[in-house]
Symmetry: C2
Subunit: 203 residues, 2 copies
């Protein structure tokens, strides 16, 4: 297997953190999005969609989409379990993982993509859209803070892929969006510090 | 189990179509989004997020997120298989399912939410954002048309959850976004007609 990876973007980091939690190492090839290497003919010949991360299997099959890659890894290396031990727990963890993507990552990414100077070349920026998304992201952060007052982790009382999605999202986007996670969000602060102590947090 | 459902919105339809393919019936309670019933104190007492669809298990557990609900149903009723028979196929189908969500459903929903009069009360509409999303949706439709020239279905040669996501998306959004699926997208037309003959298409 070969993992196409980028050192900066939060989505490839989700896969690296997942692998680190599993203690699994996969050979990696770095494809620097910031240099446009994901758009190069060489990369597109291997991964037509040009997306990063991508996992190339030994038979040449390409798997894109970080969650699909993580699920494949989970099936090959079931322990430590990160996506659920039975049908009900898998559904609950997937629900929370998706909430972190659709309700937290997307509005934050919307603010970033539509305001940050580095995204101007890649995105038809609509600053008014970012202005509308920012309060939604802030409201969702307040909800996450309330949830983390009740549970130690995003999907309940143990670390799962939902924490990885939320952690990589909150380690990257807020500071680029002018959003500060401060004492008004004490439970997110506690949770970020807690996740930050895991060795996978440096992945 | 009890399924909270809405007759109009495309996301609850994904679950209905999935259940119809499985031949599984679950008691349903209709919660009409158009009347704001999902925001009522009664519904929020049962489903705090107010999202539709939601599956209430017999122990009171609430599972939201259509794909999480579908995966739970898939595990309870494995046949006919709609999400993959082994780790590799499950990863490939999840990749395509997510592509249909993030690359097709999201830009189309962006156009709809930011232009349609019915959404004005629910969304801080930014028409310029819709203008920017529309060509992205059209470009992604052209890509889907090219892909469907090679395979009979979205994730390969058999019907899967990726077809359900794409079909419910394309049955709902384009006409509300001023996008016509005509002879310029012949493979999508053929695929839509094919999926439309399935009994689950009326779910």
């Amino acid at each position: 297997m070969l993992l196409y990876d980028d050192a900066i973007a939060p989505t490839p980091r989700r896969v690296r953190m997942f692998l680190a939690e599993k203690g699994v190492e996969i050979p990696r090839r770095m494809v620097t999005i910031g240099k446009g290497e994901h758009l190069s003919p060489d990369y597109r010949a291997r991964v037509p969609s040009g997306r990063i991360p991508a996992l190339e299997l030994d038979d040449g099959t390409i798997i894109c989409e970080s969650v699909a890659i993580c699920r494949y890894i989970e099936e090959l290396h079931p322990e430590p379990n990160l996506m659920g031990r039975d049908a009900k727990e898998r559904a609950i963890i997937e629900m929370w993982q998706r909430r972190m993507e659709f309700e937290l990552l997307l509005p934050l990414a919307g603010v970033f993509r539509h305001t940050h100077p580095k995204m101007a070349a890649l995105e038809c920026q609509v600053p008014a859209y970012a202005e509308a998304q920012k309060p939604q992201a802030e409201k969702r952060l307040e909800q996450l803070d309330r949830d983390l007052a009740v549970t130690n982790h995003v999907a309940g009382d143990r670390f799962t892929i939902a924490d990885i999605t939320a952690f990589t999202t909150l380690s990257f986007f807020p500071r680029l969006c002018g959003i500060v996670i401060d004492g008004k969000l004490p439970n997110i602060q506690r949770w970020l510090a807690d996740i930050g102590t895991r060795s996978s947090a440096s992945a």
